[in-house]
Symmetry: C2
Subunit: 212 residues, 2 copies
Amino acid sequence: MTAIEQTEAARPRGTRLPRRARRNQLLGAAQEVFVAQGYHAAAMDDIAERAGVSKPVLYQHFPGKLDLYLALLDQHCESLLESVRTALASTTDNKLRVYATMDAYFAYVEDEGGAFRLVFESDLTNEPAVRDRVEKVSLQCAEAISDVIAEDTGLSRDQSMLLAVGLGGVSQVVARYWLASSSPVPRDQAVQLLTSLAWRGIAGFPLHGAEH
Amino acid sequence: MTAIEQTEAARPRGTRLPRRARRNQLLGAAQEVFVAQGYHAAAMDDIAERAGVSKPVLYQHFPGKLDLYLALLDQHCESLLESVRTALASTTDNKLRVYATMDAYFAYVEDEGGAFRLVFESDLTNEPAVRDRVEKVSLQCAEAISDVIAEDTGLSRDQSMLLAVGLGGVSQVVARYWLASSSPVPRDQAVQLLTSLAWRGIAGFPLHGAEH
DNA sequence: AAAGCCGTGGAGGTCAAGATCGGCGTGCAG
DNA sequence: CTGCACGCCGATCTTGACCTCCACGGCTTT
């Protein structure tokens, strides 16, 4: 009953790859395993087997498990930040901006083979390197949103950051819920609904800080 | 250089406690360690030492590490759900309801020695038992909120659930951010700000589903 | 007051998983 | 044709954390 035979899944088993290509393949395999199992439950053996190589080659490309994880995490943090910034810059109509940004979160959660789990549902937040990266990307996204809010309302820096964190948080939480609940509401409609909620909330701020 | 001496921190060292009290003390010690270190980094030795007992007694009260964690998790899930339900039932004025509910999340995050981390920042979400509990309490909170929304607006069940998940998400995310950012804005004001945002957003829905 | 019992304490077993060493096959230069 | 170099694999080591076995001391009973 030992694991001897399940190596047939995705194995050229014996093909020699150039170094760069091998590295990318290893990253792909690692992503699948990390997304499916989480960091702790994922074993280096699993990743190697998924990639169709043996463990030593894995260690010839990455010094350790953490480095492998961080490489993926950096990649997808960058991706999220870029999506959000692109969405914010895609228009000057603030309501459309809200829609585009929300939609960016939905797209991010839906695409990329579930890689969003590495950022939003990591089980390695105790590791300072991971915590730093996750907090940093959250902060950077919030700051990008906050800049727009602060520019178009009379709110202070701290206040607009609170709202920005909130808007990013809604997008992220609802997008994950929407994905997990097998999408009873179509994506367009969900984003539209959230946009209505958020836009009405935001649009009330321009002239007055916070009345009664 | 072995660790021999740091057992002096909180030790009656030798006191015999009634079973119930001992169990509570163990739960307290476990909570401190789990909150500070996370599940994986926390060692049973640490918990036993923190409580001033030896490992066998720990295992006489709890079958294993997971059971100990689940006991704490259940406790604090229950606590959150009760706080949210109490807040929702505290008034019939919907705007005050929003304020009370947001404030419940802030209070939950601020109090209880950081226990919210067990629910919102667990590093054991891959364990099905943990995942089930966390998802369940999120869903129950969202349903409680959703009931109020569905009752007072013309939105469908699915739509009001999306909004409810969003509102719970904002509260949770912003409360955590507020706590972590060493509170540059006083709690009352932060809750007030969020309430304004959310209430304006929600109050637009009563009569019409979602126009343009 | 003496003896037994029950719970406590420290030391050890087991096992999984991250990290590594000697052989092997392949492709190329001379 | 032959030797060399390079990348890959099977098998192994070690660490660390969860989880139990032999001595000891206070409380109860006659």
